[in-house]
């Protein structure tokens, strides 16, 4: 049934429908509405999960590592500094092959203190062995949360559902909330091969010396590759039940496009409005939306972009000293092509700065009018900052 829901509540509805068994929670803006709503569900009996209030994000994930090791479907949510504090245990969860699902509301890192949308928090965890799925709409948030459990449990890796602060987390929009029976068909109970069990005691996560460690790491890489290969099969089943699919990437009007904007998160949605307007004026422009960032769907991205003349990647993040993170990944994917498009990298919208249709058109016009980029990454929409006076 379609209801007008806040993005945070779309996450919570999916967690309820997934019949999660253990939730640990530590509040941080803009994530807090997710765990607040889950607390309501646990209190009113619509979800019978153990709800643990912990004293930090580090503990939030530590608690779930225990719960998931015991075979419980487990969930938490965080943002920004909270995710950064979890960093050590993010590695632990993937190394221990625990399919924990975490909703990560993209928020800028401090200082300066900023609660607004910025992807640098989640992208700086890209090497922790977590599946990362970026969302564009409230509906996609709900659907992706269900998909994340399915994908994570299929390959025994943890998964992050990533949504933009405020533009998704605090925005109300119509969302189809599926029925329990349909969700049960898509997502059967979590039944891991190994679990902590006092009947058959065994030890986990022992010392792994050089003669075994590397094979264990290789199995994580294999699991990521399996997640990539299994993504479309998973979506096939999802779409068979719910009638919706998103794709690891989604090409929009890319077939004949000379210029393709590569986007993620809510900037994609605003870009669709721009492309509609530009197409009506005869401009050959398309969008490649990246939903799945880990594992990185390099081959599909190559296929979608190879015919374009120019590609403009828009990053709401920055790896200082390098540039936009999606841009680095896309460039690496394209470098195997003998003939490849010219790649422009733009950094925009950091710390919640708005990225409007006009801002995106500005980016498009720059790309159309230049043969090669003037810089490694071009910062869009920067305000002029007066040069400091030198002390003599």
């Amino acid at each position: 049934m379609k209801r007008v829901l806040e993005g945070s509540h779309s996450v919570a509805e999916a967690v309820r429908l997934a019949k999660v068994e253990v939730i640990s929670a530590y509040p941080i803006t803009p994530q807090t509405h997710i765990v607040e709503r889950l607390s309501d569900f646990c209190a009113d009996g619509s979800l019978s999960a153990r709800y643990l209030r912990v004293e930090s994000e580090h503990s939030a994930l530590a608690a779930l590592i225990g719960a998931s090791s015991a075979g419980a479907r487990s969930f938490t949510a965080t943002s920004s500094q909270g995710l950064a504090l979890m960093h050590e245990l993010l590695h632990w969860a993937s190394g221990a092959r625990l399919p924990i699902v975490l909703a990560e509301v993209n928020r800028a890192l401090a200082p300066g203190w900023n609660i607004w949308a910025d992807q640098t928090d989640s992208l700086s965890q890209r090497d922790t062995g977590w599946i990362q799925l970026y969302c564009e709409t409230g509906q996609e948030v709900l659907d992706t949360t269900l998909q994340a459990f399915r994908l994570a449990e299929h390959v025994s890796l943890p998964a992050m559902v990533v949504l933009d602060a405020f533009f998704l987390s605090h925005t109300y929009e119509p969302v189809d909330v599926p029925g329990q029976r349909e969700v049960d068909r898509f997502l059967p109970a979590f039944n891991p091969r190994f679990r902590l069990n006092t009947e058959t005691p065994c030890a986990f996560n022992q010392l792994a010396p050089p003669d075994v460690y590397m094979e264990m790491r290789r199995s994580i890489q294999d699991a990521m590759e399996e997640a990539l290969a299994g993504f479309s099969q998973m979506e096939e089943e999802f779409s068979g039940i719910f009638g919706r699919r998103y794709g690891a990437v989604e090409p929009v009007e890319c077939e004949d496009a000379e210029i393709i904007l590569v986007t993620s998160g809510t900037i994609t949605s605003t870009s669709r409005q721009l492309v509609k307007e530009l197409r009506s004026r005869g401009e050959r422009v398309g969008i490649l939306k990246i939903k799945l960032f880990r594992p990185f769907p390099a081959e599909i991205i190559r296929q979608c972009l190879k015919k374009a003349r120019k590609v403009a990647i828009i990053d709401r993040n920055c790896s200082f000293g390098a540039g936009g993170i999606f841009a680095q990944e896309v460039k690496a994917a394209l470098c195997d092509l003998a003939e490849r498009p010219v790649v422009f990298s733009f950094i925009a919208g950091l710390g919640g700065r708005d990225v409007t249709v006009a801002d995106l058109e500005n980016i498009y016009t720059q790309v159309r009018n230049q043969e090669v980029p003037q810089r490694e990454s071009i910062w869009a929409g920067l305000h002029p900052v007066p040069a400091p006076e030198l002390n003599r």
Binding site: V4, T171, Y172, P174, T266, S269, T270, R272, D354
Partner: protein
């Protein structure tokens, strides 16, 4: 697409007013989007919230800069901030006020409507004497000036969204719908 900006003070229910109307317009067949000003909230400080509606899917996910209409839940804000910022010419300004503003000339590019939502809220015992909750009343008045959504959709949205005093809130919305002034028929 229409964009409506709501001005209030923290604690008055401006955000809930946009959620209520989003749900009411959705019931009436519109695509909707509502969101608060993405800021740090403080009780009593000026707050803003926004509503987008369209017959088609709404694609833009940005802040709102040039609203078609403005709703003001607290008329003391008229002296504190520029509630007409970015407001399109001939847009409605709906005020929670007993009377039109004394210096109405500064709003001459717009259409003015007003309703004493505070008095209506107090009469129906919504909130407290010092903190009346005016959002359901103002939503009813808004439905009247725009000619949409139907007041029955507003009532349905109140049932869905408001946890207590549902009947009193619906009565307040209906009364404000009937009493709003400045509407040319």
């Amino acid at each position: 697409m229409l964009e409506i900006r709501f001005h209030g003070r923290g604690g008055q229910g401006a955000v809930v007013a946009t959620i209520l109307l989003a749900k009411a317009f959705f019931r009436a067949g519109y695509h909707v989007q509502s969101f608060p000003l993405f800021g740090v909230e403080r009780r009593g400080a000026p707050v803003e919230a926004y509503l987008r509606l369209d017959r088609e899917q709404i694609l833009i996910r940005t802040n709102s800069y040039t609203p078609d209409h403005v709703v003001v839940l607290d008329s003391t804000l008229l002296e504190a901030i520029d509630i007409t910022r970015g407001l399109k010419p001939m847009g409605w300004i709906l005020l929670n006020s007993q009377a039109p503003p004394a210096d109405g000339a500064r709003f001459s590019n717009f259409r003015l409507a007003w309703v004493d939502a505070t008095e209506i809220a107090l009469k129906h015992q919504l909130g407290t004497r010092t903190h009346p909750i005016v959002n359901t009343a103002i939503s009813g008045a808004f439905a009247r000036i725009l000619g949409a959504p139907p007041i029955e959709a507003v009532a349905g949205a109140i049932e869905e969204e408001i946890p207590e005093n549902i009947e009193a809130n619906i009565r307040a919305a209906r009364e404000a719908f009937d009493r709003v002034e400045g509407v040319r028929s």
